[in-house]
Symmetry: C2
Subunit: 105 residues, 2 copies
Amino acid sequence: MVLLRRVLGDELRNQRLRQGRTLREVSAAARVSLGYLSEVERGQKEASSELLASICSALEVPMSVVLRSVSDEFALSELSESVASEVAAVPVEVPPRSTVVASAA
Amino acid sequence: MVLLRRVLGDELRNQRLRQGRTLREVSAAARVSLGYLSEVERGQKEASSELLASICSALEVPMSVVLRSVSDEFALSELSESVASEVAAVPVEVPPRSTVVASAA
């Protein structure tokens, strides 16, 4: 199952890396601890709405942009799940085992 | 400040009401308590990623759709905040007080 905190964490980390900024810089600007930001980026902690707003503000990225990107990521994974379940639903025809065997003759 | 849990709560409630379903029905389908779902809908509680997925699944709405709608809502409020700050930045010229006064003569 794709979890919001994972996709959100990836997006926040990507935004930070795109700007060439360190965890230390962004956590200081967002007034959150470095450990907390790191856990949020790795999808290990749910960011509260207030802290998420603070992190986005520190990254100077509108929340709408972050959420749009997260939504797109979910759409992609929903699509691949749906394709996977359709593929799984198609009966696979197993060809009869060939009676021809390799011969060294 | 616009908070994710408020916008998300509104969106989940709108989805439920559009389907004409009760808090009781959706909370049972999502296996969350009615009180919890109600608090999430009112933006009073942060839904964990797992429970959010469970609520979306109970509503049969993909997470991508919910998040896209939430992103659009943020975009609108960011736009209106930016317009408001531009309007505030324009110096207002106060016209000189008119010396003509109404006369009963």
